[in-house]
Amino acid sequence: MFVKRVPDTESKIKINHETNSIIEEGLNFVLSPYDEYAVEEALQIKEAKGGSVTVFSVGPDEAKTTLKKCLAMGADEAVLIKDDTGETFDALRTAKIIAQLLKTKYTEFDLLLFGKQSVGADSAQVPSMVAAMLDLPQVNVVTELEVDGNAGSAIREIEGAREKVAFKLPAVISAQKGLNEPRYETLKGIMAAKRKEVPVITLGDLGIQPDDLAANLRMAKMESPPVRESGKIIEDEPAVAAKKLAEFLRQDAKVI
């Protein structure tokens, strides 16, 4: 299980134009929403089939709070891979770290679960990249998952339809909203999570040299979206208003 700490979706994003980064001060950081579905799915599979759930996050010390939430939900173990670099928007970098972790320290697993994308970087690439680096099957944007022995079947969302994919375990799965209904942490879970240690692994522990992670994507600039001016707001009788709207669409916007 791999999770990320992100600003919540109610956040207003402000930019520091000197450093081309977002201003984190005042933001409320949470477990990335799609990751919640992945955690829940891992817990449900464990409850049905046995096994254990270990959650990893690549990030700063603050990501421990996110990992504690996963422990409170019911994960068995949580491990921080400490990386203070900050957001690079370079999925290859994160994927390399995770692949190295799975090649060296945590080599035994049946399923690697991710959220379909982090809310923020919105790249949706780390799961596919990790699958590629480990030569594993991948199914992204999954809304239904079934595991039976070493055979898996998943339904993934595509434009206006769904695809059923067959694969063998171990495999990489990324979770889409709709996969399940994530549980709330219980008080008991929160208390237990407080007592649990979150071990920290450094990039050095994984034998990763800074050069191995040299940026491939170089940020040229970060900017806010263009501000939209609000247009004409009317309060006429419905029939009149509807006529005016239709005229606007035809004559001004020319969209019909």
Partner: protein, 325 residues
């Protein structure tokens, strides 16, 4: 050389792939770079002439019976051998469900990064600078690449489709050698949604409903409006989806889809910040809401303060009239 991946669905090349090819050709011409394309699958030869009409000088066909159905691992294997042979400087995909699944797998195999879901592409000194939304469009970041090939996926519905021309080029067919165990994640069935509804990310017009729609049955009213309008899809706010009035496929916003249609029509959508992030790049926005203070009006080009249940019926009639003219 620029290589553009052509996605096939239902025996046709997807419009978003042709949009990507059109943009590739425009930038390729600026950089004096050849623009080529690639088709992967089984029995896709008949589609080969189509990319020529949008500016491709070559169409590579990667053929193998094992690739008749999509598989990210199998398709990556096929593309990898071609890329190693022809060494393109730039590889582009449409940022569709398939494109976003496949392109990072290929990028990782090539050891390069990829900029996903780009909305702008600039040619600078023979290289690309791409702009992509982050935080679902609450901000934008522009990137250049330090490695080669430069890889990006381009958001559907953003880049204009070139006027198809009488084009000719070279078709190069390659039998891909691939073992069955290299196809690790094969699509075994495609389950079509009822009436095969158009996806919000691909529609010219999105008709969206929020909490003000009040219940699942009332989405039929929006559906009727969607049916009247050309190339329109049904959207929804998070509160409507969370109330289970409509499937998540329709959700627009930060935990749903980000859309950039020509026209976005919001009915009973208040305009929470996470929703606005997902639709503010629409060309035109119109809104109908009972609450004159609703934040959606701040981004609307045309707003009606009123009851959607009273506005939609006469609106349908007006639109039918206009569209039949």
């Amino acid at each position: 050389m620029i290589l553009v991946y052509m996605e096939c669905r239902d025996g046709k090349i997807k419009k978003s792939s042709l949009e990507t090819l059109s943009e590739a050709k425009r930038k390729g011409d600026e950089m004096s770079m050849e623009t080529t394309s690639v088709l992967v699958g089984h029995g896709v030869d008949a589609l080969a002439p189509e990319p020529f009409r949008y500016g491709a000088s070559k169409v590579y066909i990667l053929e193998n019976a094992l690739l008749g159905h999509y598989s990210p691992s199998g398709y990556t294997q096929a593309l990898l051998s071609l890329v190693k042979e022809i060494k393109p400087e730039i590889i582009l995909f449409a940022a569709t469900a398939m494109g976003r699944d496949l392109s990072p797998r290929l990028a990782a195999k090539l050891g390069v990064s990829l900029a996903a879901d780009c909305v702008e592409m600039i040619a600078k000194d023979g290289k690309l600078e791409v702009k992509r939304p982050i935080f679902a469009g609450k901000a934008f970041a522009s990137f250049t690449f330090d490695t080669s090939p430069q890889m990006a996926s381009l958001r559907p519905n953003v880049f204009s489709l070139a006027e198809p021309a009488e084009g000719q080029g070279e078709t190069i067919k390659k039998e891909v050698s691939i073992a069955e165990d290299q196809v690790k994640d094969k699509v075994v069935e495609t389950l079509k949604a009822e009436g095969a509804e158009l996806d919000v990310t691909e529609a010219d017009i999105v008709v969206s409903g929020g909490r003000g729609v009040k219940g699942p049955e009332n989405f039929d009213l929006l559906r009727e409006l969607t049916d009247i309008l050309p190339h329109a899809a049904l959207g929804a706010s998070r509160s409507a989806v969370d109330a289970e009035w409509i499937d998540h496929q329709h959700q627009v916003g930060q935990t749903g889809k980000t859309v950039s249609p020509n026209l976005y029509m919001a009915f009973g959508v208040s305009g929470a910040i996470q929703h606005l992030a997902g639709m503010s790049s629409s060309k035109y926005i119109v809104a109908v809401n009972k609450d004159p203070e609703a934040p959606i009006f701040k981004v609307a080009d045309f707003g009606i303060v009123g009851d959607l249940f009273q506005v939609i019926p006469p609106l349908k009639e007006e639109l039918k009239k206009i569209l039949s003219e």
